[in-house]
């Protein structure tokens, strides 16, 4: 029983670690897409953020400066996306793809030029990384069965960015549903003309939305390179941005359901790692490749039919122009 408990707790613990960048990116996508801007560039922004964080942390030795750099770079890329799709009314998917390709190429090129380690950044240690934090009382309650274990192993002992990620969900919910900014954000994704005729600038509103997206993607990137890992590795985002986008759609563009979708995807990935090489009853040992593919297969299946109709913000993907 306690063996099972330990396995369960450590799988869930892994789930939290794997879900963190998904949650940050999904919330990022939520701001952008609720304002009517398709954000397929979550992946690229996160990757660029990861590189910036690792590079700056390596040079300065400060994880917080690294985080700042990640956020700045990611916001710059978000603004680039905004400039292409809001100001110049470009195709949002094409612009997002361009962001991804740019990030993928530029991070490796700059990495080789600056650090001469085949695109990687130097290994970080000490204050250049975010380390796990023990929450108050974690040691004291460690011996209490079940609840104590859950608190010590599962809830306590993560790095600051994990807690930030989980906090972004209620903050996003509050911003989107409880503030004037949120009301206008939701409105502009549904009917930008109504927002314009109400005397609000559609452009500025959408720029603010993509800036929010940039901010959160930057945190996700920093998490990858200076919290979860100890350096930048080429293509380290590995499709997480796309999975987060899928989770956002799966969660019907709502913070709480998107969080659940992220946790589901994270759990599946954690389970994959756990079950690798372990023979399952009846089935036997499942090939690792199949296990690794499961979350993606599930994404396709879920998106294709199981979640019912996902009703997107009505004006998503359509550039707004005043002149009719």
């Amino acid at each position: 029983m306690s063996d099972f408990m330990l396995i369960a707790v450590s799988t869930l613990d892994a789930t939290i670690r794997v879900s963190t960048p998904l949650i940050l990116c999904a919330m990022a996508g939520l701001f952008s897409e609720r304002s009517g801007i398709v954000d397929i560039g979550l992946e690229g922004k996160m990757l660029a953020g990861a590189f910036a964080a690792a590079a700056i942390a390596a040079v300065t030795g400060s994880a917080w400066l690294g985080l700042g750099a990640a956020i700045s770079v990611s916001i710059c890329m978000a603004l680039l996306h905004g400039f292409a799709c809001i100001t110049h009314k470009g195709n949002q998917v094409v612009s997002g793809l361009a962001i991804n390709i740019l990030a993928s190429g530029l991070t490796v090129t700059l990495g080789i030029a600056w650090f001469h380690q085949g695109g990687q950044t130097p290994l970080l240690s000490g204050d250049a990384r975010f380390f796990s934090i023990d929450l108050p009382g974690a040691l004291a309650v460690a011996d209490i069965p079940v609840l104590g274990t859950i608190y010590t192993q599962l809830i306590s002992g993560h790095n600051a960015l994990v807690y930030i990620a989980f906090m972004t969900v209620p903050v996003t919910w509050w911003l989107v549903y409880q503030t004037r900014f949120g009301l206008r954000l939701r409105a502009v994704g549904e009917n930008p003309q109504a927002v314009d005729t109400a005397g609000i600038s559609v452009f500025w509103l959408r720029y603010r939305a993509v800036i929010c997206a940039g901010l959160l993607c930057g945190i996700a990137g920093a998490y990858l390179s200076i919290a979860q890992n100890a350096s930048f590795i080429r293509e380290m985002s590995a499709g997480k941005g796309y999975i987060a986008l899928a989770a956002l759609i799966f969660g019907k563009w709502r913070p709480k359901t998107a969080l659940l979708a992220c946790l589901l995807f994270g759990f599946l990935e954690a389970l994959t790692v756990r079950l690798e090489g372990v023979p399952l009853p009846l089935i036997g040992e499942v090939p690792a490749q199949l296990m690794q593919a499961t979350p993606y297969i599930l994404t396709v299946v879920l998106l294709a039919g199981f979640i019912g109709k996902a009703i997107a913000p009505k004006s998503i993907g359509i550039p707004y122009s005043k002149e009719r």
């Binding site: 004037r180 009917n191 314009d196 109400a198 005397g199 609000i200």
Partner: protein, 529 residues
């Protein structure tokens, strides 16, 4: 001379709106040329003109959507510059757009306060907005449930929300752009009552429309626009429909359809108990039966979206018959004998689609290509291997000649013709083959008055040649004047039938809202008494 009068009168009362020499061009097109307009305070001012006369451009300038190339805008005696909708709102101008500027997934309250929230917290804003909304509702008699989901409301109520939105922002000048296009006659009457209440409380109303009836019914003054210029200001009491129509078009126009009484003969088209379910299982057509005889025009009246489109689709073979049957020229078509639209055409059926841009033509094709659509496989247009281009062009040129399509150029892209000329081309294509049965959806939607007269004449002469015609239109005036017999559709059912000579707007309107059927009136959901 008249404008002189208005100016002196306006100076005394300081008009709500005084536009002077407004000019606006889009590329080579002059949408507004030296437009002057004076709207007296606390009056209802009508602006009438054909499509493309520049009404909407002028209002967009006033509401800050466009900026004028030159000219002055005086509001309440002060020279103002309006660069954005925000400026317009601050100046006290509110606008109710033809296509509502509402968020369907928001509540009425959220829609009303959007952009004019009192605080950055929604809770606070909602509280103060709710109180203000309550006050406005009582003062102007505009009852709407603030917590209703806007997308669920009937169109008339959505329009109310738009008016409340403007009033909530403190509008003293209200512009309404084609406000009655989507309303039932009862809803139009309610709207007019509201406008009168607004006038009594000192709000100036500008009503943009192409419907002469409305101008006469409600306005105090009227200005006619034609080709981007103000043609004439008139006092409504001193003018009439005929004069206004003539000013709009620039020549005399016959407003009534001139036709002999119908001489109905044998039944050419019959629908028997047609029922059509959509993919969600909702009945779009519910046990519809009707007959159309040779030598008569049957009109189908109803608020748009009550099954007319689906009926046309089934009667023309676009949708397969699910339950019931269609008898066309003696051929029975039902579930066991499914025919497609091409087969229907071969049974001598012509179909002028409701939405000419979606179904009637391909706007990116040339006129000559559009003129053979549906008949492209006919031997007369085809050589052994390739299409006979000369014959296609020749055919189109002759249609254009007969039906007065302008410009008379078969090679011009369909998109470059005006709405009226596109419609004439579509109608020409179908009528030219003298079909035994002709279905016409919205014969004059987006068509100018001058062309309306011509299209109606063509339909009547097809009838007089002994053919059956079925007309679907949301314009009551049109149904009453063009058709010989009228049926009314409501929620997929036929709820009434009468001879056109017995029909009036009141009777039809009650049926269209199904208030005559004794059922409770669904269209008023969301109203607080």
């Amino acid at each position: 001379m008249l404008s002189q009068d208005n100016t002196s009168q306006g100076a005394a009362r300081s008009p709500a709106i005084d536009l002077r020499k407004i000019n606006k061009s889009f590329g080579p097109v002059k949408a507004n040329k030296d437009v002057d307009l004076i709207v007296a305070k606390g009056s209802i001012h009508g602006i009438i003109g054909e499509n493309g006369a520049g009404k909407s451009t002028l209002m967009s300038i006033l509401y800050g959507f466009y900026e004028a190339d030159s000219g002055e805008i005086w509001v309440n005696g002060k020279l103002t510059s309006i660069h954005s909708s925000k400026d317009a709102i601050t100046t006290g101008i509110g606008m109710v757009h033809q296509h509502f500027m509402l968020i369907d997934t928001f509540t009425v309250l959220e829609n009303v306060m959007l952009g004019a929230e009192q605080s950055s917290s929604l809770k606070q804003s909602k509280k103060s907005a709710r109180a203000e909304l309550q006050r406005l509702s009582t003062e102007f008699g505009l009852a709407v449930d603030p917590d209703a989901m806007t997308g669920d409301l009937a169109v008339g109520l959505q329009q109310r929300v738009e008016i409340l939105k403007a009033l909530y922002r403190g509008a003293e000048i209200l512009i309404l752009d084609e406000p009655t296009g989507v309303l039932t006659p009862q809803e139009v009457q309610q709207l007019f009552d509201i406008l009168q209440a607004l006038r009594e409380r000192g709000v100036s109303v500008m009503l943009i429309t192409h419907k002469l009836q409305e101008i006469i019914a409600i306005t105090d003054e009227v200005t006619v626009m034609r080709g981007g210029t103000m043609v004439a200001p008139r006092e409504t009491a001193k003018t009439n429909k005929e004069e206004l129509a003539e000013l709009m078009v620039g020549r005399k126009v016959l407003l009534r359809v001139d036709k002999e009484p119908a001489k109905p003969q044998q039944v050419l088209l019959e629908a028997k108990n047609l029922t059509l379910l959509d993919s969600a299982g909702i009945a779009r057509l519910d046990d519809v039966s009707l007959q159309v005889r040779a030598g008569e025009i049957l009109g189908i009246a109803g608020v748009s979206g009550n099954g007319q489109t689906e009926l046309l689709d089934v009667l023309s073979g676009i949708s397969a018959v699910q339950r019931g049957s269609v008898v066309l020229n003696g051929v029975n078509i039902d579930k066991n004998n499914v025919l497609n639209a091409k087969d229907f055409r071969h049974l001598s059926l012509g179909h002028v689609a409701e939405d000419r841009h979606k179904q009637g033509m391909v706007t990116q094709f040339s006129a000559r290509e559009c003129a053979i659509m549906g008949f492209q496989d006919e031997p007369e247009f085809n050589g052994r291997l390739l299409m006979d281009n000369a014959a296609v062009t020749e055919h189109c040129a002759s249609l254009m000649q007969q039906f007065d399509v302008r410009p008379n150029n078969p090679h011009l892209k369909a998109a470059n013709f005006s709405g009226g000329n596109q419609q004439k081309l579509c109608i020409a294509r179908e009528i030219e083959r003298q079909p035994k049965v002709l279905l016409v959806g919205q014969p004059t939607r987006g068509v100018d008055i001058g062309a309306i007269e011509f299209i109606h004449q063509q339909i009547v002469s097809l009838r007089d040649a002994g053919n059956a015609v079925l007309v679907v239109s949301v314009e009551l005036e049109e149904v009453m004047s063009l058709c010989d017999r009228i049926v009314v559709m409501f929620e997929g059912r036929i709820v009434g039938e009468m001879a056109a000579v017995d029909a009036d707007a009141q009777k039809l309107g009650l049926l269209m809202g199904n208030a005559g059927g004794g059922d409770s009136d669904n269209s008023t959901t969301g109203v607080v008494s």
